[in-house]
């Protein structure tokens, strides 16, 4: 399953504003945040310095590793936040 991912800050500087990731499906038309992260890190080695520290947002909310991602969801990979 191919998912387009939004990137921000240092990740966007390195990889551009979006990046398409091909992740294995857990069921047809369905993958998980964890599977997406693994596929992303495998295809973008420069992001591996952040690894598990990358925060994942699905539909503009923070998501956990086993949360599901379906076609049409908005997925973003975020470096550790540093506001304030």
């Amino acid at each position: 399953m191919r998912v387009e991912i939004l990137l921000f800050a240092s990740l966007r500087d390195e990889l551009g504003g979006t990046c398409a990731v091909e992740a294995p499906e857990s069921r047809p038309g369905e993958t998980t945040v964890g599977a997406l992260r693994e596929a992303f890190l495998a295809s973008c080695p420069s992001a591996s310095r952040l690894g598990k520290r990358i925060l994942v947002a699905v539909n503009e909310k923070f998501a956990r590793e086993d949360d599901l991602v379906r076609p049409g969801d908005t997925v973003a990979f975020l470096p550790p936040v540093a506001g304030g």
């Binding site: 947002a57 550790p80 506001g83």
Partner: protein, 146 residues
């Protein structure tokens, strides 16, 4: 409440504190995060704030909802500015107004802690030698902002 919580416009702490106050309030607290002129001994000329804007806006709203559960007597007004800010410019404001000072202080402190922990905003530090993204977990005893 006036305007978006995440904005490119300058923030006016006094106006935001006034928005938070109700006539039954006696204790008003304010946190203002501004750009410092140094970080880790490096000179800082500006900080460039970037947000995942729609999510940052919603996360600010979610923090307000969470904190109004924890501090029901307090009204919070919170704003985060984005864009390029120079030394002394205001990046973040948390105004908390309540009947008494204890809860206003607690809510104000909780507000800035939640913003720093949860709101998808990043900052790039600009100095004489170029720029670097700030990583909050890197050992930086002296970061360039609050």
């Amino acid at each position: 409440m006036s305007g978006p919580r995440v904005t490119r416009s300058p923030l006016d702490p006094a106006v935001l504190l006034g928005e938070a106050r109700r006539d039954g309030d006696g204790g008003l607290t304010l946190f203002v995060g501004v750009v410092r002129d140094n970080a880790d001994g490096r000179a800082v000329e500006a900080m460039e704030y970037e947000a995942y804007e729609p999510m940052a806006e919603k996360e600010m709203e979610r923090i307000e909802a969470d904190l109004s559960g924890r501090f029901p007597a307090v009204r919070l007004v919170m704003r985060h500015r984005i864009g390029r800010l120079t030394v002394g410019e205001v990046a973040v404001v948390v105004a908390a107004s309540g009947p008494h000072r204890e809860e206003a202080f607690a809510a104000c402190r909780a507000g800035i802690e939640e913003i720093k922990a949860r709101v998808p905003v990043w900052k790039r530090e600009w100095g004489p030698d170029g720029s670097v993204w700030v990583d909050p977990l890197q050992p930086r005893p002296n970061p360039g902002s609050c």
